[in-house]
Amino acid sequence: MKKLLGVTLGILTAIGGFLDIGDIVTASVTGARFRMALAWAVVLGVVGIVIYAEMAGRVATLSHRPVFDLVRERVGARLGLANLFASYLITFLTLAAEVAGVALALQLASDVNYLLWIPLVGFLVWIVIWRVKFETMENVFGLFGLALIVMAVALWQLHPDWSSLWHSASRPGVASGEGAPTYFYYGIALFGATMTPYEVFFFSSGAVEERWQRSDLMLNRANVYLGFPLGGLLTLTLMALTAVVFAPMNITVEHLSQAALPTSLALGKVGLALILVGFFAATFSAALETGLSAGYTISQYFGWQWGKLVRPREASRFHVVVLLSLIGAVLLALTAIDPVKLTEYTVVLAAAALPLTYFPILVVANDPDFMGDKVNSRLSNAIASVYLGILIVVSIATIPLMIATKGGA
C-alpha cells in the first residue's frame, strides 16, 4: 500500500512538475499562431524526454554516477569542458527565464511590477535550496503544479470545435500565412522546451544522491512513462486554449498574462487563481531545478562534492556556484530583457545543445562495465539511436533557422 502511494505521488509530482516557463511560453505562442499544427513537436519531445530520462535514470541508478561526471569521463577533459560551457550557459539562461517567470506570475497575482519581485524570487529560490529537503521540495511544488489541471477544465468549458482542433493537429502542414522556416523554428522551440536538458541533469543527480537501487528502477519507469506523457497533455491543453481564444482573431501571444487569459475567460476568478498558482509552482520548481543543475554541471565536471543531502559546508564549492548563478540570473532578469523572448531563445538553444549530453549517456547506457546486465536492449538502442539522429538534425538546423526567421519574427 505504501509503495502504491509512493508510486502515485511520484507520478503526480512528475505531471505537476513537467511544465516550466519554456513550455508555458512556447505552447501559448504556438497555439495562437499555428493552432494545433505543431502538436507533433510536443509529442516528439515527450517521447524523447521519456527515452532520455529513463536511460539517464537507469545509468544513474546502476553506475551511481550522474550525467556530467560521465560526460567528462567519456569524451575527455577538453571536449567535456566545451560541453560544460555550453550546458552551463543554457542552464544559466533557463534559470534567468524561470526566475523572471515566477516574478511574472506574482505580478499577475498582485499588480506589482515583476521587476520588483525578481530579487525576492531569487532569494526565495536560494533559501529553499539551502534549507529545504529535496523530497519536500519536489512533493510540495509538484502537487501545487497540479493546479494546472484547471486548464483542461477551462478548455472543456469553452466548448471548442474539437474536430477542428483535431484537424489542425493531425495535418501538420504549414499554417496559412506562415513560412516553413518559421514553422520549423517554433517546432524546434517546442521540442527544446519539452526535452529540457536541465531536467535530465537534475533527475540523474537526484537518483545518485538518493541512492536509487535496482529495485527503484520500476518506480523510475512508472514516473517517466506515465508522468511525462500526462504532463505533455497539459502542454497540449495550453496550446489548445490559445488556439481557441487567440488564433481566430489573429492575436499574437507576447505576455504571460495572455497564457492565463483563456482560463480566466472560461472559469472566472477561480480559474485565474488556480492557473496562477499552477504557473507559480511550475516556474518556481523549475527555478529550483535549474539553480541546482547549474551547480551540478560544474561540480560534476570537476569532481567536487555536490548535493542537497550533505551539509552545505561539506559541499562549499557547489553552493558557491549555485549562489553565484542565482545572483547572475537575477541580474540578467533585472535588465528588463523581455522574458518571453529570453525564454524562446533559450529553449531553441537548449534544443541545439541536446546531442552534447544525450550522446555520452547513450554510450554509457550500452557499457556493461557501468550497467551490468541492464544495458540497452536492441529495441531501445534502435529507438534511442533514431532520436540521436533527430537531435543532430535539430541541432544543425537551429542556428540557420534562427537567422532566417530573425528569431521567430
Partner: protein, 120 residues
Amino acid sequence: MRLSELLDSEVVDCNGKRLGHVHDVQLIQDGPPLGTWGNAFRLEGLIVGPGSIGTRLGIVRPEMRGPWILKALFARRRSARVLVPWDRVREVGAERITADCVAAECQTAFTTDQASPPRG
C-alpha cells in the same frame, strides 16, 4: 612522466613513417607493490592509431554491444589501431614518440583476451 604527455602524441616508427597518435596506454598489473593497494600498474604499451574519438568513448571494445550504428561508424578505424609495446619505444620526445619497430610488427589492439577491467 605524465599520462597527459603521452596521450595524443604523434608516434612514428623507426623509418619515420607515421603510425598515428597515442589514443590510450595499456597497463598490466604486475609492478612493485604500492601501499595497501597491491601491485602497481606497469606500462605495457601504447595504443596508437588514426583518429581518436571511438577509442576514447570505449565504443570499439568487443564487450560494447551497441548502439549498432555507432559501432559501425567507428569500427572502420579499428584495424588501423596498433599496440606498440613499451620496450619498443626508443624515445619520448617533446613532440613525438619514436618506436623501434615498423608498423607491421605491432599487434592489433583490442583483441578479445585483452583488458578486463575490474568490477566491484
